[in-house]
Symmetry: C2
Subunit: 355 residues, 2 copies
């Protein structure tokens, strides 16, 4: 790949395909629908492969992400986010709902009323009530789900079920408890809605670290995202091994003056994500014991094991970012490789689609 100028993001297509197959099998074995979150890759080509492998639809985080994928022909889209819908967003949602099967998240009465008022759709917009299963970000407590669902119906919405994001499963050793919390919260919320006479067609959860632990007795679908590529966080959580990592940043050693290799991929390529439990800002494929120990906008300083010779200046290394979703959103395209040969370029079609 020496004809390309570093830094760039390379996707190992065989590893990607293995990851797509494995997650599809994980879902199938549990009789769960798979509705992957495309915010990870923002790529039409990868979303199409996910559907080919049996995904029943896609999850997105924003209206503009939905617009990118619906314009490309995707027909079943869940905006897994408690949108605040003003008139402008209402118009955009109505347009989307005319072109695809659309679900939107709610977690407040005010939000539900704004959604209903500003979409003004005959027959009611389809929504899922967001449940807080322990991540404490958005979502209502399981016991409050039925009340919100009934209020949403009164506001003119069609409640199709519930969803949660077990984000508290991020961190070594946390996935089992988070998956149990997810199942408990979703079961309790389902019970509440059923008792209140609401239909609960969709019970949606899941994340990459908890996917294989999803309780098939409670959930109907899961929405993992990162699994397509994996990243250094997943490595540290034990969700994957290095052979499962399908995306890395190709970066050149530009300095060794400090005694450590400094690479030309910084936070504007890798993203600056670093949870407290991470051992660094990223890893190096060629040297498993190396860690990105400092990160500036255009420099990654690597703590290199003393037992291993320092890479020469000009060497191209592959850096695994901590959080692949952040890295992808910084790139215009993904360079697709097989066995070190570039076979394609995929556009990051929904890059920067935050609104």
């Amino acid at each position: 790949m020496s004809e390309l100028t570093t830094p760039y993001l390379a996707v190992e297509i065989d590893a990607l395909e293995r990851n797509l197959v494995a997650m599809a099998e994980t879902a199938r074995a549990r009789s769960l629908s798979l509705r992957p979150h495309v915010k990870t890759h923002k790529s039409l080509e990868i979303a199409a492969r996910q559907v080919e492998h049996g995904a029943t639809g896609i999850s997105v985080a924003t209206i503009s992400e939905a617009e990118v994928f619906v314009s490309a022909g995707f027909k079943d889209v869940f905006i897994a986010y408690p949108l605040w819908v003003d008139r402008s967003r209402g118009t955009r949602l109505r347009s989307l709902a005319e072109r695809c099967s659309l679900l939107v998240g709610i977690d407040s009465l005010e939000g539900a009323e704004a959604l209903s008022r500003n979409t003004g759709r005959q027959g009611g917009f389809d929504v899922l009530v967001e449940i807080d299963s322990g991540h404490h970000r958005s979502g209502v407590a399981p016991g409050a789900a039925a009340g919100l669902a009934l209020a949403a119906v009164r506001a003119g919405l069609s409640v199709r079920g519930i969803f949660t994001f077990p984000g508290h499963g991020y961190g070594p050793g946390r996935a089992v408890q988070a998956a149990a919390g997810e199942a408990r919260a979703l079961a309790l919320a389902t019970q509440g809605l059923v008792s209140a006479g609401c239909e609960v067609g969709v019970v949606s959860g899941g994340s990459t670290p908890t996917a294989a632990l999803s309780d098939a007795g409670v959930l109907s679908e899961m929405r993992p995202g990162v699994y397509v590529f994996n990243d250094a966080q997943q490595l540290e959580m034990g969700t994957c091994v290095m052979g499962d990592v399908a995306l890395s940043a190709a970066a050149t050693v530009v300095s060794r003056a400090s005694g450590r290799p400094v690479l030309d991929a910084g936070s504007k390529v890798l993203g600056a994500d670093r949870p407290s439990w991470a051992s660094g800002y990223g890893r190096v494929v060629e040297e498993p014991d190396a860690r990105v120990c400092a990160l500036s906008e255009h420099h990654a300083t690597v703590a290199w094991p003393e037992s291993s010779p320092l890479p020469e200046l000009g060497t191209v290394l592959r850096v695994v970012p901590n959080h692949v979703c952040s890295a992808v959103n910084l790139a215009e395209e993904l360079v697709v490789v097989r066995g070190g040969v570039v076979i394609d370029h995929w556009r990051v079609a929904a890059r920067g689609a935050n609104g």
Copy 2:
């Protein structure tokens, strides 16, 4: 600004102008040239204003940033980075050097040789030797500068001087010591080069936190970047006050279910930068005691002071990112406002120009 859809980055043009004037005066009072780093704003409009205010040239981090600004007519450009120059980069550098006065950083003999070999320019490329003044990222020790400069000349380059980045000045209470270290290192390196018979026309240092502390007896120019906007890091270091912050992310309160406001600007808008000494992932203009205490890709959870009423759902707040360079690089455009009225849109022309 309610006609715009959050999240977006807003630039308060009057605060920006005040910041431009103040830094130009800081440089002038010290008889230092000002060569601001445009990686912060990546905007042709702001770079033009910097030149109008007396900047003698601009600093960039990458060849592609240089290409954006040189194509727009900027004539004096320093790539403040120890580039590894292969043939492709050599061709691009040669093209740039035909169109502007170009300086490039070096910090190794191998890098200098590659630069000379792959640009193959008659008369030698103009370079500055990078000095490590305590940040320990790239750059040679001050005592090694003369040796590298002589070797670079032998390799066919034209050494015009030296530069350093006192990045160890980032952190509360660290600027004074970092500025002193910068002056010491640059003085020592200058002495070495002069003793070896090298011309030292340029002695370049500076950063936003150390700019006002720059030693005019040693430096000839400074390269601050962040000062145009400031950010939450500068607030916490005491480099600025809230009134000096010229850029914020407009974000909507989308959830209060957890008891805390959750806003629709996450790490894909603000950047995930968080040094260990920062009190959060960002601040809120409207509530100085609030802190962004958790950040996902599309959610900012805000620790809101108990003494203050929670903002209503749908409220638009202005979030000050920790590191404004990261936030700007995530946006396609900057929304320029004066007194709450949108007066312009500036493109982030060098967005993602990492290579």
